[in-house]
């Protein structure tokens, strides 16, 4: 009994890291419970006598009456303070010191201490705080669960499977600093363990195949081209409201024979169906009808394509299907869309595989397109016209004719109206054929199109809805230097962005989800573009086996020219779309081969079964555990295998048991730092490799890092490895995750902006704007730019969508790729003025200086304001109509509010020039503010200058503090924060280059020691 108690007690002490207060507490409890078991003469540590004799009586006399457990006025209690200055008490001590120094406490109407009393206590607190802040934290080795994102990335790389198995995982909690990878908040519940177990089973089932059964593979292809189908389906189909099927003659569906380097079973699409509903649209029941054609299994379908602003949304031409960028419809703006974007082209299909990976291969080209002219282009390219232009006129309307062009070049095509026609000329529906190229649009002005043409004979034909209204077609040669020619040259250089989506058909609304990223289609020649994904990552229609509705259970493969900001874009030409799934590059697939090893390895093949099993399991577990397996782990793995075999499991199933075991083990689920003593110890090389990878890649170490750890060269080659890791694509996962959490972009993600006031803040724009801060930070770090760039920069890092949002669309030609753009604007540059941040700190209607101020204080200068105390009094009613700024002032001046708001609001006022959508406001605003240190600044520009000039050290510290917290996955100890401050000074002279700061985080004790 005594022994058990003692060891429980010893364990309690170890666990609670030498907190003597707790030891005392536990002693007291144990003593009460087992008075006879604990020796009475247990030595009690002496507490500091100054505290006992002077400070404690002082607090009791002047403070505790209002600040105690039961009545923590303003959220402060002081009755529990001890001379120990434990970490969790430091902020109360700091507050007490501050209040006493400023003489703001005790309140005027309460008994006051003498000056000497006050000074003595202040001096005591200061001295003790200085000691406490330097006190090293015990280091006992961290055990940190993988976050959901880390688990996802780890499983992907470990099993070589695309599929995201984490969809049903409980979300990770957010720490006070905003991070989800903090050990203190990474909870573990039975539901987590249940999920880990089920996920391990699912993932291993997906990775390991039955090699004795050849796979069944579905493959179909749709080809496009005007009238290419010589035996079209005779049925006219309706696929719900507002859908426009392609003409049955314009596409062919086929199940081509796949060439694969292994034996497989082709899947035959079912073509025979019987339906009673849905084949005349949604609402009609017409009686049973039989269908028997592949064209009732796969269709080419357009939706919501009418009213495209310029030209036709889509068009079939002999070579294929032409698509203009898919404009997100008004419906897409924050609520679920009804018909998707215009042009919303998709292939509907009844049967797709249930699981596995799939490939969609699109044969596409950039169409040799012309630029359709409109008032906007004409007005911005207006200039003094060449007085003697080369013009070739064609007078044949409505039939094929030929003109002879004197030279190759850029031509403007003018449609000259008949003289008799009224002014202004009526709009015409025009179809223009130039050799094999086609252009269709509604034309309002004479100038119709700009296009590049070759020298010599050109066959043309022009069709208009009112033939008599047109007199002739003029081909006007443009000087290459002409503004319009330059505009065309920019247009011509652009490449449509091909995107593939997968979803399911619903009566209204699209569920299409992108497959991979859009790909640039640069060439005029046909090329194949491959999109790959895991089928279960996309919504699937669950339809009962005996479904009787023609429209139920359809999947859709969307193919689009992706929209960025509405700029003119050459059309995307699609010749064919092929689906293959499940997709296996080899058989068995790489996921399987990686686990079971190379079947040509003779040593392994010749080994006996148990040896083989051991080799397979050891190899897998070592990768999963991010270090070599121990002897006892290997024994356990072998035993699991043998047990299963003894119970009749196949070799493969017995191995799978070992794999599931591995993925459920703490060695896989936790990042474990094994520590022998409370003193700081260096990480071992495997621990370091893992820590680096989960910091810089948010995922597991790759083979090179592990090889360095094995060879013991990781520390020696650390800089080389860092460089490699930062240059790697996976580094963006770190930058996006860290930036989102540091700067709290979650707020922006869930914002519901006022659509009338901020129509530009569309769902798609928001998606891109949300990535901006992370892309920006990544650029600063990769380029090793000074930390001042965080506050102000002559460039923004933007793609076309983001650039357009800031009114810089003309500078950007990078599609969805983020690139630095020099902006030459006063309202842009640095993170403080990025829309995702400023809008995220509003309610979508009005900007909120309090939120912005609190965010700034917490995130940018690391002076987090205190939490609002309980029972904040409401502002009195008569203030409601006053401007927010005045209301804030009143609020600030109320007792109980002033203390904190004086440290929040002045920062927020500096942001007043920006609207709730994060854009420069056009109305006049007062952004004049007196900062807490009494510096006066007027507006953002002065504010930034002040920060760069006077507060750069502080901003650097905040960045370092947050980055170190994220990197080490825990809350930092006071002494660690203090040494961060010292450490950063080394880089001060060089203006704190950002990559060097990141390197210093990695080299710092919180990261390197356990």
């Amino acid at each position: 009994m005594q022994l058990a108690l003692f060891s429980a007690f010893a364990r309690f002490v170890t666990r609670h890291r030498f907190s003597w207060q707790r030891v005392l507490w536990s002693v007291a409890i144990l003593a009460r419970m087992h008075a006879n078991c604990v020796a009475e003469d247990e030595p009690l540590p002496t507490t500091d006598s100054t505290f006992q004799d002077i400070v404690s009586p002082f607090l009791n006399r002047y403070c505790v009456a209002c600040h105690n457990t039961d009545e923590p006025t303003s959220g402060v209690r002081l009755d529990h303070l001890t001379g120990e200055f434990a970490d969790e008490q430091l902020r109360f001590w700091e507050g007490t010191q501050r209040q006493l120094s400023k003489r703001s406490m005790p309140p005027k109407d309460e008994p006051q201490p003498t000056s000497a009393e006050r000074q003595r206590v202040i001096a005591y607190i200061e001295a003790q705080l200085a000691v406490a802040r330097r006190r090293p934290a015990p280091k006992n080795g961290q055990i940190r669960r993988l976050t959901v994102a880390q688990y996802r990335n780890t499983l992907r790389e470990l099993l070589l499977l695309d599929e995201d198995f984490t969809e049903t995982f409980p979300a990770d909690a957010v720490s006070r600093d905003g991070f989800v990878n903090t050990v203190e908040t990474l909870s573990l519940s039975p539901r987590h363990l249940e999920t880990f177990l089920h996920t391990a089973v699912r993932a291993i089932d997906a990775a390991v195949v039955d090699t004795n059964t050849p796979p069944t593979i579905e493959c179909f292809q749709v080809d496009f081209g005007r009238t290419i189908n010589t035996t079209p389906c005779p049925d006219k189909l309706i696929l719900g409201a507002n859908s426009h099927l392609l003409d049955n003659r314009d596409f062919v569906v086929d199940q081509p024979k796949l060439e694969k380097p292994f034996l497989f079973q082709p899947f035959q699409l079912r073509t025979h169906y019987r339906f009673i509903e849905g084949y005349r649209g949604n609402d009609t029941v017409r009686g049973w009808r039989e269908f028997d054609s592949i064209y009732h299994a796969v269709y080419a379908c357009m939706r919501g394509s009418e009213g495209y602003p310029k030209g036709l949304a889509y068009q079939t031409v002999p070579q294929g299907l032409l698509l203009r960028p898919a404009i997100p419809s008004a419906e897409l703006f924050q609520i679920e869309s009804t018909y998707g974007p215009k042009a919303n082209f998709k292939i509907s299909v009844r049967e797709l595989p249930d699981e596995g990976e799939f490939r969609v291969t699109v044969t596409a080209a950039k169409y040799d397109d012309g630029l359709l002219l409109d008032d906007a282009i004409l007005s911005r390219t207006a200039e003094v016209r060449n007085s003697d232009p080369v013009i070739v006129s064609g007078r044949d309307i409505g039939s094929s004719a030929t003109v002879k062009l004197p030279t190759a070049g850029i031509y403007r095509i003018d449609l000259i109206r008949s003289q008799t026609i009224a002014d202004p000329p009526p709009e015409l529906d025009v179809q223009l054929f130039l050799a094999k190229r086609e252009f269709s649009s509604r034309s309002r002005s004479t100038e119709f199109l700009v296009v590049r043409l070759a020298e010599g004979d050109l066959t043309y034909r022009v069709e208009v809805n009112e033939r008599d209204s047109l007199e002739r077609v003029d081909f006007v040669l443009l000087d290459d230097a002409a503004l319009l020619a330059q505009e065309f040259a920019r247009f011509e250089r652009r490449a449509p962005l091909l995107g593939v989506h997968l979803g399911l058909r619903r009566d209204c609304g699209s569920t299409l989800t992108p497959v991979g990223s859009p790909q640039r289609v640069d060439n005029l020649e046909w090329a194949e573009f491959v999109f790959q994904g895991a089928i279960r990552d996309y919504p699937s229609p669950d339809v009962e086996a005996d479904n009787v509705n023609y429209l139920a259970g359809l999947r859709e493969i969307g193919v689009r020219s992706e929209y960025t900001d509405g700029r003119d874009m050459p059309r995307l030409a699609i010749r064919s779309v092929r689906f293959e799934g499940p997709f296996f590059p080899t058989w068995p697939p790489p996921s399987h081969q990686q686990i079971f090893g190379d079947s040509t390895d003779e040593a392994e093949q010749n080994a006996d079964e148990l040896q083989r099993a051991a080799a397979i399991l050891e190899r897998f577990a070592s990768r999963a555990f991010r270090r070599p397996t121990t002897a006892s782990e290997l024994t356990m793995l072998k035993r699991i295998y043998v047990d299963a075999r003894n119970e009749g499991a196949t070799f493969s199933d017995a191995i799978k048991n070992g794999l599931v075991f591995t993925l459920t083990s703490p060695q896989f689920l936790f990042l474990i730092e094994n520590s022998a003593t409370p003193a700081a110890e260096p990480l071992d090389d495997y621990e370091l490799a893992a820590k680096l990878a989960y910091f810089l890649w948010n995922g597991p170490p790759d083979s090179e890092l592990t090889a360095c750890a094995t060879a013991g060269t990781l520390r020696a080659s650390l800089d080389e490895q860092l460089e490699r890791m930062i240059a790697d694509d996976r580094f963006s996962r770190c930058m996006q995750t860290f930036t989102r959490q540091w700067l709290n972009l979650e707020k922006f993600a869930v914002l519901e902006p006022d659509r009338d006031r901020f129509p530009q803040l569309t769902r798609d724009a928001r998606h891109e704007l949300e990535n901006e801060p992370g892309e920006f930070l990544q650029y600063l770090i990769r380029e090793n730019l000074p930390v001042s760039s965080l506050l102000d920069s002559s460039f923004v890092v933007a793609n076309e969508v983001v650039a357009d949002y800031y009114g810089l669309g003309d500078l950007s030609e990078s599609g969805f790729q983020f690139k630095p753009l020099t902006h030459q604007r006063e309202d842009l540059g640095g993170v403080l003025t990025q829309a995702a941040i400023l809008a995220g700190l509003s309610d979508g209607r009005e900007p909120n200086p309090v939120k912005r101020g609190a965010w700034f204080a917490r995130k940018i200068i690391a002076e987090p304001p205190d939490d609002p105390p309980p029972n904040v009094p409401a502002l009195s009613e008569d203030l409601r109509d006053l401007p927010l700024r005045v209301r804030l002032e009143r609020h600030r001046n109320q007792t109980g509010c002033a203390q904190c708001h004086a440290k929040i609001d002045p920062w927020g006022i500096a942001f007043e020039q920006y609207s709730a959508a994060g854009r420069w406001r056009t109305d006049t605003v007062d952004a004049h503010t007196r900062l807490p240190d009494q510096t006066e600044v007027n507006g953002m520009l002065e504010f930034k200058q002040h920060l760069i000039k006077d507060r750069l050290d502080q901003v650097t510290f905040s960045f370092l503090k947050h980055l170190t917290t994220y990197a080490s996955g825990r809350k930092l100890h006071f002494s660690e924060l203090e040494s961060l401050r010292d450490q950063q000074l080394n880089l001060r002279d060089r203006g704190y280059p950002m990559r060097d700061l990141l390197r210093s985080v990695i080299l710092s004790p919180p990261f390197m020691e356990k």
């Binding site: 080795g141 055990i143 409980p170 050990v183 459920t664 730092e673 520590s675 519901e752």
Partner: protein, 443 residues
Amino acid sequence: MLRRIDRRAFLQGIGGATLALPVLEAMGDDVLVDIPRRFCALYTANGMSLPRPEHEIDEWSWFPRGEVDGQFTFGKSTEPLTDFRNAVSFLGGLHHPNGVKSDPHVCSDMWLTGAPLHNPLPGTYNSVGVDQVIAAHTKARCRQASLVLSIDAGTGFLSRTGTISYGLDGRPIPAENNPRHVFNRLFRVDGNTTNADKASLARNMKLVDAVLENARDLQRQLGNSDRDRMDQYLTSLSDVEAQLDTAERWSEVPLKSQDYSHLNLEATNEGDPAEYYRNMFDLIALAFDADITRSVTFMLNREDGMGISDTFPLKLGLTRTHHNLSHAGDKDGQLEFAKYDRFLCEQLAHFLRRLTEYRDRNGAVLDNTIVLFGSGASTTHNPRNLPTMLAGGTNLGLTHGQYWRGDDARLSNMYLSVLHALGIEQASFSDSTSTLSCPIFAS
């Protein structure tokens, strides 16, 4: 050889060892004939509308302000519940004594627990919630101990919780929010157990045994490293083992055949709020009807403008966010806040209707279910007079149609009364001092 671990011993080891285990032995006959007693807690954040008298819109008060013949009359925001007059009661004047001392935003964290969050015990954050006490007592009799739902998945974070359920150890239980996931987990996985399912269950039980042993080995080798973390892992895994054990026994019992055709599993919290709530409530009702679980919590929205539900009033055509409305002092704002209450009451009415349609052997499911609907604040950040409504449970001794006003009575006392009504004879719960002396509960 692998040391076999007695799963029953584990069961006993979890959650305070007070479970009545004989039930397990009697599994089969007893479980199948017992009539379920259930609990469902529904939480709405930011309080309910109790308009200021000077606005003269008393008829929009959530607590009834009118009376006819000594009986309360429903206000406009609770009018949708008129049909259930004899199945619901209002309770006024309740509070958590610890709530008064705490930051007002933690009121949802402590709603079901009453924990002293302003001064937590060393090493703890919260304490067990009443729903999880019930779950611990009912879990051996149904397929799942509890169903924890919320508008946002996961746990949220300290003081801005995304779940109202706290386990026996006081840790938050992550909530689910997606109707399809909930449906698949409850009605697909455990349904119609096949031999293959049984084989995989047996395999999982063995694997969990092995993983437990491995984890203990590891813990022994770990020297000084964070032991709390490994303890958490071991406790959680033991719990999973207990679940597998329950599942193994349940695998013999087929899932009740039910009509799911009214469900729209595409509904998500990003779509139409009414559609979303309706489907979540339908799932709870189905789960009760099939006796999948007997303890359910559903956090309808979150404090302080967190999460997506803050925007629901806007989606419904009101002009401010939920959190902003809760702070409104002006007439228009208070009226809008009340209209949002009405919207929520419409959802509640739908739920109660469903529970009336499903039948147990001795009456409607509602009659064997205590439904609690409430909030952790009355007017803005006021942790007293918590808006509280009880519905159902008339077979469990509850008498409805009342508006009872306590004088600063403890919410924990009411929870103790609820526990007793469910047949869980604890001496106390959290900071309770007694059961609630209130005519709604049979004395």
